[in-house]
């Protein structure tokens, strides 16, 4: 759109829209600052016990020390690594598996009840078992992360594959296409936004799964820090880890959001 072809009313509208956006950003920021300030102030005045509730300044100090001791980034790195690996594996395996299901109706019908049961199982219940079977190492944690997301992803992907317009598939057939061509020319492109949507859900689920795994077994990672911190009453560690988890979630979500925007621009 060209700016000098816009009418005056349109320009006023756009300006109002921009002002509104700035205002919203300002309010968001104001809430954060007010919250931090109240937190710090009430800890300073002794209204809340900063041993249990900590305070922004204590957290900063704690953060500084942990960075000095090369601990913080190590734990963040471990959790991030486990989350990303389990996320990537979930996406790859569920895509492959769903494609197999799509090729064979018999396989789908046979496995359907198993998938439904596995999906509705509370996956955190599996974690202790996995640890006993596979030992307390990062592979188990990755598997725990995967177990939380994979079954739901397969079910959702399969539904997405089934929802593709039958007439579009007929079109490929009338053009002489094979099932594999149908897959690549219609099914997968038609599901692109569905896949990105699932990625958004899964990155969060994998993070949850990984933290559960770390709670139970690990000797490193933010989940370990939270559990260990609460046991030795280092609540600064616990709260700091939780805040960092928030940041990680936002970061990972943002990356997928970028991918989504790329895909939207393409279609």
């Amino acid at each position: 759109m060209n700016h000098d072809t816009l009418s005056a009313a349109q320009i006023t509208f756009l300006k109002a829209h921009k002002r509104q956006k700035i205002r919203i950003h300002f309010y968001r920021f104001a809430i954060l600052i007010t919250f931090l300030f109240l937190w710090e102030f009430s800890a300073y005045k002794g209204w809340i016990d900063d041993f249990i509730f900590s305070s922004p300044s204590k957290l900063l100090l704690c953060c500084y020390h942990m960075i000095r001791e090369n601990q913080l980034f190590y734990h963040i790195g471990i959790t991030l690594f486990e989350t990303i690996v389990s996320f990537i594996l979930v996406m790859i395996f569920s895509l492959i598996f769903t494609i197999l299901l799509w090729y064979s109706k018999t396989l789908t019908k046979t496995l359907d009840p198993y998938l439904v049961v596995l999906n509705s199982l509370p996956k955190s219940a599996l974690a202790p078992l996995l640890i006993v079977w596979l030992g307390a190492n990062y592979k188990t944690i990755i598997l725990t992360g995967m177990s939380v997301a994979i079954f739901g992803t397969i079910l959702n992907l399969y539904i997405g594959f089934q929802e593709v317009d039958a007439e579009k598939i007929k079109l490929i057939k009338t053009l002489g296409g094979t099932p594999t061509q149908t897959l690549f020319k219609v099914i997968l492109p038609a599901n692109a936004s569905n896949i990105i949507g699932l990625m958004k859900v899964n990155i969060g689920l994998c993070l949850v799964g990984v933290i559960i795994g770390e709670f139970i077994s690990s000797k490193s990672g933010l989940g370990y820090l939270i559990i260990y911190g609460s046991q030795v009453f280092k609540l600064d560690w616990v709260i700091l880890s939780i805040l960092i988890l928030c940041c990680i979630a936002i970061l990972l979500y943002g990356i997928i959001g970028l991918l989504e925007r790329c895909q939207k621009n393409k279609t």
């Binding site: 579009k168 053009l175 296409g177 492109p189």
Partner: protein, 254 residues
């Protein structure tokens, strides 16, 4: 062989767990090369089923369909235009019309050149990099036709290709597409709900009975060959043909 298609005592039944639906019953007809046949019939009588059989997506339960005297197989070149254009939103217009060539691995310098020629002839060249949603209904239909024509089909099957368009566009597009098909000398079979469309485009009109479909009447349409579909609509005979087909269709109504 003087017939392009010869359909001999063909039957087809759908089988589902709910029971069986006989869809086609003793279909028997011939189509000459270069002929334009319109098919009309009540809703749900088996028109789409007939086209699916003609292009080999379904196999007849008994009877035969011969194309140039041979049984229909996968690699017979038959173009099928479905009710909706089904242009893919994730492809540009040009990529959409190349879909058929891509699937049959026939993309090369000549076919690409031909695609460009078609786009130019039918006024889509300026939109070749646009998304399908940026085209009007008529343009989309033309793009779908080009996608079919690029495969050089011997036979064109059209399943209510204009039904998604509003009335005015529909008149234009059916005139437009009808003329394109006549000019290229293709044999075509058009299924439609619209009797005036059937008369304005067809050389013969097949009237089908309600389910299970069988051919109830064949109405030959005689107009001077140079008449365009719109010119046909303006003649007096047009109304007569219309009424004749209307009567045939309503024979079965109580």
């Amino acid at each position: 062989m003087e017939y392009l298609i010869s359909c001999q005592h063909m039957f087809y039944t759908y089988h589902t767990l709910q029971g069986e639906t006989p869809a086609l019953c003793d279909m028997d007809f011939q189509v000459k090369p270069g002929e334009f046949v319109s098919i009309v019939g009540p809703s749900g009588c088996g028109k789409s089923t007939l086209l699916s059989l003609l292009c080999g997506l379904l196999q007849p339960e008994s009877g035969k369909i011969l194309l140039n005297g041979k049984a229909i197989t996968k690699d017979c070149s038959i173009g099928y235009m479905l009710q909706h254009d089904h242009l893919f939103e994730w492809r540009t217009v040009k990529k959409n019309i190349l879909l058929g060539l891509e699937i049959q691995k026939k993309i090369n310098r000549e076919t690409l050149k031909e695609a460009d020629d078609y786009l130019k002839t039918y006024g889509l060249y300026d939109f070749k990099d646009a998304k399908p949603s940026q085209l009007s209904g008529g343009m989309r239909q033309r793009a779908a036709l080009i996608r079919t024509l690029l495969l050089h089909p011997n036979l064109l099957l059209l399943d209510e290709p204009f039904s998604a368009l509003d009335y005015q566009t529909r008149l234009q597009v059916s005139d437009d597409i009808g003329s394109i098909i006549k000019k290229t000398g293709k044999t075509a079979i058009l299924v439609t709900h619209d009797l005036s469309e059937a008369v304005s485009l067809g050389d013969r009109v097949f009237v089908l009975s309600p389910l299970p479909a069988t051919i109830q009447a064949i109405v030959p349409i005689h107009f001077p060959p140079e008449f365009s579909p719109l010119q046909r609509r303006n003649t007096n005979e047009f109304k007569d043909y219309f009424n004749q087909i209307w009567k045939e269709l309503n024979l079965n109504e109580p």
